[in-house]
Every structure is written in C-alpha cells, then in structure tokens.
C-alpha cells in the first residue's frame, strides 16, 4: 500500500480509477509464470509469487509515465514497467516498487508501408499489428513467445529470437526511432525522432554514437533502464499471399494454405550433417523458417495435446530433424526456391517426410505465419523454461546441443524435468544464416516442488557448464548475482554496465532485479 499522500499524487496524474493499491489487486500482480522457479533459484520458497508491489498504476501517455517516474524519484519508490506482463521478469524485486502496467498505451501510431516500418505503443500485440500490416502485404518480426506479446517489449526490453528469424531477423536489430522515459524522468528520443523540427521515426542511431547500445544488448534491460513508450521497428514483406482463411473451432481450426508455401522436414541423422545442411540452406537465402528441434520438439509443434503428440511417431522418431518452411510472393520465386531445395536434398542425401510420411494439419501453416509455434512447448508438462540462449555460429550451437545432452539426461533421470532424451533444443538461423542461437526448452511441472527445485538446479548447472566450456553467454544473465558470475569471465563488462546504470539512474529507481544495480 502507498501512503495516502503518495497515492493521491499518483491519482492526480492518471486519475483515481487508474491507480490501485488494494490488497487484492497488488497480490494478483505478484503472481507470474515461472516465478516459482526464480524464487527457487534465489533460495526462496518455490511459490509463484514475487514481492508484492505497492500499487499498480496505468498511465496512458508518455507525459503521464514521465510524471509517475518523477514522483517515484521524489518518494524513492522503484517502478517496474510491463507491456503484456507474462513472465517473472515483470515482477518487482522488492516491496518498495510500483508496477506500471502499460495496457492503456495500446495504439499503433504509424504504419509506413512504403518505408517498411511501424511505430507502436507498449500494449499493441504482434497479432494486432500483423493484421494491420498484412493489408499492405507486410509482416512483423515476432519473438518465439508468440503473437500475443508486445513487439515493443521485445524490441526494447527483452530478447528477440523468433521462428521467422531467417527472414525477419532479431528484435534488437530491427529497432529504428525510440521514445524512452529515462529513470530520472527525462524523455529521450533516439535518432531522427529526436529532432526538434520535422522529427520522424525512420532511424534510431545518432547523431553520432547510437544510444541503442545503452538501451539494450543481446538481452534487454527488462525495465531496469527506464520505460519505453513508443518504438519504431522494421516491417518485412509478407512471405506469401496474404489470404488468411480460417474455419472451425479452437484449437482445431482448418486453414486454407495460401499460395505459395512449402514445408520440409528432414532428418539430418547426425549433428555434423545438421551443421552443413543448415549452412547450405541459409546461404541460399530462401527460408522463412529454418529451425532445428529435437524429434520430440518436432512432434510437439504439430500437436495440440498429449494425446495428439502420441501419434507423431513417424516424425518424433527422427534423430536430428531440420524444419524448413519456404514461402514466396510469386510463382517464379516459389519454383526457384523449390528447385534450390530439391538440389540440397540430393546433395545432402536428405528426404522430405512432409507429404510422404507425414502431413501436418493445415493449422500448422497459420501458426507458422503468426509465430505461434512456441505455445506447443507447454503441452507436455504445463511449464517450460529455456536454459542456454547463446548466439553466434551454427557450430557453437550444435556443439552446445551435443555436449549438453548428458547434463540434461542427469535431470531427466532424477525425474524432475520432462524426458526429451536430453536432445530438446531449438536452434534457429538469423538473417539468412549470418548467426544462430540455441536454447534448451526444458519442461517441468510448476505445481511440483521437487520438479521446480530440480529445474532451478538444472539451470544453475547449465550456467556453470557454459562458463567452463566457453560456450557463450546464455539468455538469463540478469540480476546482480548472474552479472557477478559472468562479468569476471567476460572482460569485466559488469563494471561498465553498473556505470551505465549509475549514470542513467542515479537514484536507483528503475527496479534492477532483472538488470544490474549500481551497487
């Protein structure tokens, strides 16, 4: 709860109906998915609740956000911003924190369909934006989390891998102009949108050095460096015909597969072969999706329930599968891309099982276009979280996969995580194979204390493993403990990051539980 005077001052900014410090509301906001395993990692009770926020505030404009942040500075109360708010990284790390729920900032500000970019507020979802951009034959990069999350949060504050990354890149690299309320309450505008006159959103770098480098890295600052109120990012040509016809009922919709799409699922049989095939396909610049999943993971992306997972044996039994979706705007392009794929199948002695051994439901194609494949990770145990998350060459991704199998098996044997034979990873290419990332989605039972604790231990051991073997830095290097673990092994970057935090947040007002404190 807030002191009366403080509450009134917040109410003055957003109106009484948009601030709530009641017990019911603040308790509800302390819940989040995977919070139990974060608690467990921190040696706390493995419950799905974080510290309870002092209040929840719903601003609707950048000016309101600014005033709230200023008030937070005045009262030395921390804030945590959230867009759609799914995941433990949305949670306050102390009791002295208010949540800025940005759901009222839900406008698509601009779609520049000629210059291929959109400007959005935090609560615009990927699905909402895609529906609008499709009208112009365009699509948007969506993270693997799915179309329901906020592209703004992904671009400014989170990670950025998506299933369509070969064609649509990484969220961090698609950013143009940015509007950003700094932790001290100043409004910063990056690039061309920062001009006093004739400002526009078409570029986010300069004049001079690009402050996008302070805004985020491979991972975002997760609200630890301020609040992003608008962002411009690139759009991409929609990969095929924009016809989108669904019928039937959830979850078994029928989808009319649009011109021109073709799916390939191939068993590369060995990891060394996978590496070669990955590169060969990506060098040709033809894929819309190009991902390696384990046999089990492959079965999962075509299934909507445990029951339906069971009849995916022909594909789930594959040793080292590769999923490639090609899509084309014209018939000529489609024929060319198929020709390239045919040649690769011959050159690498591969068989495409789609259409011969297995035919997926048409809904798969709709989910691929909507970046909706990630949700299938939940079907087996109800919960998953990814260890790993490093990103560089295909070689390091494949090596990480291979070498981590015994480690994962150890936890499978303990009965604390789902059995994917230790092989369950997702590797995707970016920007036609210029770089790759690997993560290891690991299924666990969020309702079982043993499983939660086991999952936390598994994550911990993975961090040590990656450090020891120099396999790159994983996703979740965030929070003081992790930065202090990895920093000394990585050019002492944590010292520089702390200086940034101190310079831009002198009062430590932006909650740094998932970032870094100035210490």
């Amino acid at each position: 709860m807030l002191q009366k005077q403080v509450l009134e001052n917040f109410q003055k900014i957003v109106g009484p109906e948009n601030v709530d410090d009641s017990e019911v509301m603040t308790n509800a906001y302390s819940y989040n998915w995977c919070m139990e395993f974060v608690n467990s990692s921190e040696g706390k009770e493995p419950i799905p609740f974080s510290s309870i926020p002092k209040a929840v505030i719903l601003p609707s404009t950048v000016e309101e956000v600014q005033q709230i942040v200023r008030l937070c500075n005045q009262y030395k109360i921390q804030f945590k911003a959230q867009s759609t708010g799914l995941g433990p990284w949305n949670q306050p790390s102390s009791e002295n924190c208010v949540i800025l729920d940005l759901r009222r900032m839900n406008k698509i500000v601009k779609i520049d369909h000629r210059s291929l970019y959109a400007v959005v507020e935090p609560y615009v979802s990927g699905a909402q934006l895609q529906a609008e951009t499709m009208k112009f034959g365009l699509t948007v990069h969506m993270p693997g989390a799915g179309p329901q999350v906020s592209p703004l949060a992904s671009a400014t504050s989170m990670n950025g891998p998506g299933f369509t990354s070969p064609h649509t890149g990484h969220s961090a690299r698609n950013v143009l102009g940015v509007e950003w309320v700094l932790p001290d309450g100043e409004i910063l505008k990056l690039g061309s949108v920062g001009m006093k006159n004739d400002s526009d959103w078409y570029i986010g770098d300069g004049p001079g050095p690009s402050l996008r480098g302070i805004m985020r890295g491979w991972a975002g600052a997760k609200s630890g460096i301020g609040v992003f109120t608008k962002v411009a990012f690139k759009l991409f040509p929609y990969p095929c015909s924009t016809k989108f016809k669904l019928s039937g009922n959830s979850p078994d919709y029928e989808f009319e597969i649009p011109d021109y799409m073709k799916l390939y699922v191939m068993d590369c049989k060995s990891y060394s072969h996978l590496e070669k095939v990955f590169l060969a396909i990506e060098e040709e610049e033809i894929s819309f999706i190009c991902s390696h999943l384990s046999g089990y993971g492959l079965g999962a992306i075509f299934s909507n329930s445990i029951g339906s997972l069971m009849d995916k044996i022909p594909i789930a039994g594959m040793l080292v599968p590769l999923v490639v979706l090609i899509a084309a705007r014209t018939k000529r392009e489609f024929e060319y891309k198929q020709k390239v794929m045919s040649k690769i199948l011959i050159d690498f002695n591969l068989e495409n099982v789609i259409g011969s051994k297995y035919t997926p439901n048409s809904l798969f194609y709709a989910e691929a276009l909507r970046s909706n494949l990630g949700l299938h990770g939940f079907i087996a145990t109800g919960g998953f979280q990814s260890s790993k998350g490093q990103c560089d060459t295909v070689k390091v991704c494949v090596k990480t996969t291979k070498e981590s199998i015994p480690l994962k098996k150890k936890y499978i044997k303990k009965g604390v995580i789902g059995n994917d034979f230790g092989e369950g990873v997702w590797i995707t290419s970016y920007e036609s194979g210029h770089y790759f990332h690997i993560e290891s989605p690991t299924m666990f039972d969020q309702t079982d204390e043993k499983s939660v604790k086991g999952m936390a231990e598994n994550m911990e051991e993975n961090y040590q493993f990656d450090l020891l073997k120099h396999l790159g830095a994983p996703f979740f290097v965030e929070g003081d403990k992790m930065h202090d673990l990895f920093g000394p092994e990585m050019m002492n970057y944590h010292i520089w990051l702390r200086k940034i935090k101190k310079a831009f947040d002198p009062n430590g007002i932006a909650d740094s539980g998932f970032y870094i404190s100035a210490k």
Partner: protein, 489 residues
C-alpha cells in the same frame, strides 16, 4: 622541442620505440588540416603503435600526462570531414596504419577479422581469392581504412544486406578512453578468443555482452570513446553471375518509386540513384569523358544489379528479372528509359572494387560533400533546395539503407580548390546549404566538423546530455578526440 613534448616523446618511445614517433613538422603538417573547411590545431607529435598493448599504454599515459589523442587509420592523406584535425592544444595523432593485419578470413561463417590499418586495396583482393566480398560503400578509395569506413557508418550499396544501421560491423576489440581493454558482442566471452574459437565461435553476433551493446556507441563516435584495435565484419559470397541494369529518367519521383519496390521486395543486390554528373564521375576518369557522358545521360540514373551464385545462378536471375518486369508493368512507369550508354563492366568495376583515386575528385579536383539521412518522402524536397542554391557542378547520390527504411542523401559540390575565389564562394554555400537542410528536417546522423554544434542544437537537449554521460563513462578525462560531437564542454 619544449620540455613537455620532450618528456612525452621519451615516454612514448618506451612504449613503441623511438622510430615509431615523429615530431617532424613535415610529417605533422598534413594532420593539421584536411580537405574540409574545418580549422583546428597542430598536433604535437605522431605515434605509430603496432599492437593493442601499445594502444592501451599510450591511452593510459594520456590520462596520466594530460594530453589527448586523435586516432587515424587510413594510409592516405585524403581525409575529408575534419574529424581527425586536433581541436585542442596538447594533442597527438595516433596513426594505426601499422596495425594492418587481416587476422582471419572465415568463409564458412562469412566473416573477416581485421585491424584498423587494413585498407580496401589490401582486403578486397584477399577476400576475392576466397570467393568472398565485403559490403562496400560506393567505389571506395583503395587507401582508406575499411574499419573506419564501417565505424563511420558509411552507407553500403546493397540495402537488402543492411539489416541494421550498424552493418557490416560485428564484434570489436576496443581500448576505451580510460585505457581499459574491452571486447564487444560475443567476443567478450566467456573465455579468451582462442577458447571461444575452439568452442566453434567466430564472433558473428555483435549484440551484447548481455544487456548492453557497447559497439553501437563506439560506432559513430569519431574516435572519442574508444580506439578499436580489431573488428569482425559481415561478408557475403561473390556471385557467379551479375547482371547490371541502368535506367535513366528526368523524373526522380518515378525512379525513387521503382527503386523502393526493388528494395522492399529484396529483389536486387546493389542499387542506388545518381544524377548524371555523379554517375559520369563514377565510371569515367577524365574531365572530358565526364562531360560527354553527363551530356548524354538523362538527369537521374538508377542502377541495380541482379546476382546469383552456383548451379542455379541463371535460374535465380531469370526469376528476379521476371518478377521485376511484372513490377514495372504494374507500376506503369512512363518516364523510365533503359540505357546502354555505359559499358556494364565499367559499372560492375565500381560495384566490386576500389578506386585508386577518389572518384569524387575526378571532375574538378576537389569536392565538399553534404550528406544526411532522410525518409523517402522528403528526398525530392531536399534535392530542390540544394539545386536552387547550387545548380552547377553538383553531384547527387541517393542510397537506400537499412533495407529501405531510410536513405543516405549526398550532395557533392565539385570545385577547384586551387582557385581562391571559387573556394571562398563554395565555403559560404557549403555552410548555408547545410544549415538550410538541417532546418528543414534533414537528419545529419554523422555530424562532422562545424556541423556538430548545429546538429545538436537542433536535437532535444536530452540527446547531448545522454551522450555526455556515455562520454564520462568511457573517457572520463576527455583524452580521446576532445571537442568532437557534443563533447565540447
């Protein structure tokens, strides 16, 4: 030599040997001015380090002995933008041309690692031997440093490979103004570079480490935050087939429209628009040839290249050409004319290679370039504005960047610098036009020389405040290129 410089020479000699230091005015003079109108100071001396450790030691010494450092990497003296002219007293030039090793060429991962002294004339042929190509700016001068071209965000000519403003820059090794060594992107670790390599990494991910991306602030900093001692850069394979298309028209809008579609659907590799004079300068050498070609060409010229590789190269070209023909038909382009006035190989030479002497000097010996980033809609407005003020001897270059989301617009004002009154006249015009453009929304994202003050004055104050915070972190004693950008306070 005064005492202070004496001591300095002595200390620097201990770091990199006395033969790598010079106080000779003949050697120093070329560093106190360049082709721009910017006026600065004389450097005290010049030092040529040859290793990262030497760079580190020199920067640490600068912090102790209170002198400042201007880094320079290109081997030629053709510097154009005033960014390497000392602005303060007590400044030395750190010339990095002796750090000129190509540290690795990795074909599989399409990446090269180079030191700052590596020039286009050294790197391009080496890569060609491996079947690889750099993402080049428009016909770069051979003696220019590849690394500084990339650090300065010179536009590259293949927009579809320009995924991010920072491309083709990937990871860097940098010595910050504090004298601390750092590596950005995946090169930060965990592990040493050789341990990372052993694990299969090739430093192709520029993002990070973790929750910040320092390479983005080093880029565009004009050497004022850190000195880069190597960088990795994105490469592409050399196509086995390239087909050149040249269309000209007197209607810029129509060409821009068509080019935008090509870029949006990622149909072509290289593409840009030049006015007749600039295209003539690009492909011809003598003044007479340039004038003849200029007179034969229509005012605006769109060049684009289709490319394919391997067994299916021709299939690829056919599909692209077919799709582009459909696009042209549907776009109802009435002013466009296909041109055969230039040998296609002459154009390809400018796409795939470097030039011995800057092509922009071919017409009148000298030029001043005004360049900025624009959105699509405003390009014709800017062209009109500049042409009104300076109708003659004007080269124009329009380059879609960042996958067509914005445009590099460049106006090359050609003149004879031997002619005093012409030069004076041009200086006035250069300043006036620059300011005019800034006033109507042109985004000067690389604010060199006198532009810097004007540019930052036209941006919200928070931009400079934030940048100064960054400067304070990475170069708290202001030893690196003091006075550039908004770092004058």
């Amino acid at each position: 030599m005064n005492n202070h410089i004496d001591t300095l020479v002595h200390s620097l000699a201990k770091i990199c040997g006395s033969k790598n230091i010079s106080v000779d005015p003949n050697v120093l003079n070329p560093y106190s001015s360049d082709m721009s109108f910017f006026k600065g100071n004389n450097p005290n001396l010049i030092v040529w380090p040859s290793k990262t450790q030497e760079v580190t030691k020199i920067i640490k010494l600068a912090n102790q002995m209170d002198f400042s450092i201007v880094p320079v990497s290109s081997s030629s003296n053709d510097r154009h933008h005033g960014d390497t002219i000392p602005r303060k007293d007590n400044c030395i030039i750190m010339n990095l041309t002796k750090m000129d090793k190509i540290l690795s060429i990795d074909k599989k991962n399409r990446v090269v690692m180079i030191e700052p002294g590596v020039t286009f004339e050294k790197l391009i042929p080496k890569l060609q031997q491996s079947g690889l190509r750099l993402l080049l700016p428009l016909y770069p001068t051979g003696t220019k440093s590849v690394l500084t071209s990339v650090l300065e965000r010179e536009p590259i000519i293949i927009p579809r490979y320009h995924w991010d403003t920072s491309d083709p820059l990937l990871c860097t090794e940098v010595v910050f103004g504090t004298g601390d060594l750092f590596r950005t992107g995946t090169a930060a670790g965990p592990g040493t570079l050789s341990q990372q390599k052993k694990a299969g990494q090739a430093h192709v991910n520029p993002m990070g480490p973790t929750q910040f991306s320092p390479y983005r602030v080093i880029q565009g900093a004009q050497g004022s935050l850190g000195i880069v001692t190597w960088a990795t850069m994105k490469l592409e394979f050399i196509p086995s087939e390239q087909k050149v298309f040249h269309y000209h028209s007197n209607n810029i809008e129509e060409l821009l429209d068509f080019q935008q579609k090509l870029a949006n659907y990622r149909l072509c590799d290289e593409t840009f628009i030049l006015n007749n004079l600039n295209l003539a300068c690009l492909v011809k050498k003598s003044r007479e040839e340039i004038e003849n070609l200029t007179n034969s060409l229509l005012k605006w010229n769109l060049i684009y290249i289709l490319a394919g590789r391997g067994n299916l190269a021709i299939d690829k070209l056919n599909y692209l050409e077919g799709d582009i023909n459909d696009l042209m038909r549907d776009s109802n382009l009435t002013h466009l004319e296909s041109s055969n006035l230039i040998d296609k190989n002459e154009i390809l030479e400018c796409m795939n290679n470097y030039t011995a002497e800057p092509w922009r000097t071919r017409y009148k010996g000298s030029y001043q370039d005004i360049f900025f980033i624009s959105n699509f809609e405003n390009i014709p407005k800017y062209i009109k504005k500049v042409e009104l003020k300076h109708p003659e001897n004007l080269g124009i270059y329009i380059q879609p960047i960042n996958q067509g989301t914005s445009y590099h617009c460049e106006f090359d004002l050609f003149y004879d610098s031997e002619n005093g009154s012409e030069t004076n006249d041009l200086e006035g015009k250069f300043n006036e036009i620059s300011i005019d453009l800034m006033d109507c929304g042109a985004f000067f994202n690389r604010p060199y020389g006198y532009w810097a003050r004007e540019v930052y004055a036209r941006h919200i104050e928070q931009t400079s405040t934030a940048l100064r915070k960054v400067k304070k972190i990475f170069d708290p004693n202001n030893v690196l290129n003091p006075g550039v950008l908004c770092f004058d306070k």
